[in-house]
Symmetry: C2
Subunit: 285 residues, 2 copies
């Protein structure tokens, strides 16, 4: 069946969006639409321009016989700032305050649209770090981890606090929770992580970083490489942070349970996002 | 900025795919692209045709001042069959067999691409049931629930087995596990589900249905309405099923631990998917 350009553009856009980071050969499109490769190239130029203008991402073209085109989802600085500003506003709502100074974030993490926006920001930041797998710990971090993984087109592995029969044989470690100083256990299914994998750790909340530090310890058991740590909210004013390098979108600067006040500011993500934009520009020259 | 048709098609496709089930007014597009509504209508006709031809879904147009266009993700029968056939093949692999006749599904549930395909099938089936929220139980069902919810554009609520401080006040119920007959507890954050919500329950695995039955009991505590139950894998040969109406993609017909054999067949989803296709066709006449 012959396709007109307009139909090709719609279907190619859908295909590229569904397969981020995935190399699609021009022949694939040429055959699917029964069109000349030169027409496909022109289509891709239009898509690339629109994607870049609209902040959807970019297309990277790889020349040669094994070449093709790859959609890289990217979030522009302005869009990321807007998402984070929105998040800050929502998170600062004093109704979120729970006993013990904890925050209720379940509604935010339960909204796929917000979660996908957050996921795209992290995927943008880590898209050039050769990530093989996104790791998180049950339960709260799971939706964020899947959102990031979808945009990076990699699988998710979930570390658990308990041992379930459905996980098969597992590796378990003990770690010290940073804030409560209690000893806890973490378990990961042996089959779920290949040796030498490049891992991005994603979680919803980081206080002292004990849980994330636990995941780093588990990575060592699998000889896997830590390639990055992304958290939605970090809590400031921690005496001793167990984790050094991480990216946060929102920073909790002050929680006053008595006065029912939550103060938040932007996290450190901007530093990293700006770096990427500069790198990209340099790469294009 | 004026947009050419080709750029509009790319950007509109992206916008519609990102906002399933969401009514977008023609004025929104007309203003964004500084184009006449008649041109936007023509664009939408092209997109609708391509979406339908390619099995991406359909566009529903609502006339009038409050009208607009809505993208409904749909999976065609053939595509659904292919996905399920693939799943059956993967699940029947004897390496999945765990002690006690359990199956290792973690890798399947860890792959966002597979999870999204499954999510789209369930969203297709339930897209006309006015779902307000997707419910699942921690941990394994979470990725599936988010995938379905993304395509339905509704939030997810997660029932837990334990009580966490970050959930705020909760409602908890006791239920009897169908297969082990043990009494277990289920907990749901009070804030997370509004009274009268229409709920779709999604889970990865159903044996006797005790866990799902527990979720149904929790729905009653919230005066919420059960609108459907979707499971990835159901286990056949259960003496007494606690749940009546559900949709499954894969049916486990026989697990022989000694012979290391897993037998699977297609679940009952086809019955429902065919019904929808027929309804749709009738609706168009």
């Amino acid at each position: 069946m012959k396709f007109r350009r307009s139909s090709r553009l719609v279907d190619m856009t859908n295909h590229l969006l569904l397969h981020p980071q995935h190399l699609v050969s021009l022949s694939y499109f040429a055959e699917k639409y029964d069109s000349a490769k030169s027409s496909i190239s022109e289509d891709l130029t239009i898509i690339k321009q629109t994607f870049e203008q609209q902040g959807i991402g970019t297309l990277v073209t790889i020349a040669g016989a094994a070449g093709g085109v790859k959609f890289i989802p990217l979030v522009g600085l302005d869009e990321a700032k807007e998402v984070v500003r929105e998040l800050c506003g929502v998170i600062a709502n004093p109704d979120r305050l729970l006993p013990g100074g904890y925050l209720y974030l379940t509604d935010i993490l339960g909204d796929p649209r917000i979660v996908n926006k957050i996921g795209k920001i992290f995927a943008s930041i880590y898209s050039n770090r050769d990530i093989d797998v996104v790791m998180t710990v049950a339960t709260k971090g799971i939706p964020l981890a899947y959102a990031v993984a979808s945009f990076l087109d990699v699988p998710v592995v979930i570390v658990r606090h308990d041992n379930r029969v459905t996980e098969g044989s597992t590796v378990s470690i003990n770690y010290v929770s940073g804030s409560t100083k209690r000893i806890q256990t973490m378990v990961l299914s042996k089959r779920s992580l290949k040796e030498g994998s490049n891992v991005l750790i994603i979680d919803d909340f980081m206080k002292a970083g004990g849980t994330i530090n636990g995941m780093i310890n588990i990575l060592e058991e699998f000889n896997a490489n830590l390639k990055g740590i992304g958290v939605l909210v970090e809590s400031e004013g921690i005496e001793e942070r167990l984790v050094d390098e991480y990216i946060s979108l929102v920073k909790l600067t002050d929680v006053d349970v008595k006065e029912k006040q939550i103060r938040v500011s932007e996290g450190n993500y901007l530093t990293y996002l700006s770096k990427i934009e500069i790198q990209d520009e340099m790469g294009e020259e």
